[in-house]
Symmetry: C2
Subunit: 151 residues, 2 copies
DNA sequence: AGCGTGTTGTTGACATGTCACTAACCTAGA
DNA sequence: TCTAGGTTAGTGACATGTCAACAACACGCT
């Protein structure tokens, strides 16, 4: 720490750009989604991952790991979603500690209804703004950063 | 919306990667910073932008715009930082509505002390994980997305 | 001057996420 | 068997951010 390697101009531009994009993009996509479907992006992610799981059911811990969420965050959020009737907690047969998470009929309908609009929003504000090369670079780069952070 | 263009595999990878990186990277960098300096990343950004401003003072609205924050968010945050003695609100001479934001001595010292460790953290978890090409691509891509969102 | 409209910043109510702690349970080794 | 230590999930207190509403002021037009 005695001799910090400050960011170069290019590095600074990437870092600042990332942080700005994070704020604006997330806010915008979230707003689009809420106004169109009544779901937040967090709700959408939970429902989406759950609907793609085998049997449309998942352990809480597995879902948290898959989404890179803390267990606490997921637990709080699931409580709220359960109150709204979108998902359902069930006992876990083979592990007394665990909970299985399942989709309710209402949750299933909600994700089906929300998906087209959400994809359109993601396209409009991010994907369709990028070139195919940028998309691949972004995918590669984010996956590498995530992998490093998951130790 | 009748016929949604779903994301291709590559597009999906970029989108999922971005969202995972967002969660993990921000959490990690924030934790590093808090444990090393007692500042959150938000605190750091405010102090950093303020210390680079001419006269180390800035209008609240200008700072909010520059950081891509909502005015409300900044106002709340400044109140908290002011309570901790890091910044100071002052009357704005040429506009009775406005406030000027200034750095206190304590805020100045805090950013100076925190900077080397924070840069090291950003390098370790993001910048140094990327190639120079990826950094430039990330900068270009994020700036374009931000520009589109700012209309 | 007087009025309407837009800006600037603040506030309160509320939603969300983190952290630290706890309870309940599982598993392996003495 | 039983006990220590790890795992799974839930909880409460707190920090943060959003949204909508508001107050105070600026500015342009008549």
């Amino acid at each position: 720490m005695a001799k910090p390697r400050w960011l170069t101009e290019h590095e600074e531009a990437a870092w600042v750009g990332y942080r700005r994009m994070r704020v604006l993009l997330d806010l915008r996509i979230n707003r689009d989604l809420v106004s169109q479907s009544g779901l937040s992006e967090q709700d959408y992610d939970v429902l989406s991952n759950l609907s793609e799981a085998v049997g449309q059911r998942m352990r809480l811990g597995d879902l948290a790991a898959h989404m890179c969420w803390s267990k606490s965050r997921l637990s709080h959020h699931i409580t709220r979603m359960q109150d709204r009737g979108l998902v359902q907690r069930e006992e876990c047969a083979d592990d007394g500690r665990g909970s299985m998470l399942t989709l309710t009929r209402k949750g299933h309908d909600a994700i089906i209804a929300a998906a087209p609009g959400h994809v359109a929003s993601v396209r409009q504000h991010l994907i369709d703004v990028l070139t195919p090369e940028e998309i691949d670079t972004l995918a590669a780069l984010t996956h590498r950063v995530v992998a490093r952070l998951q130790d």
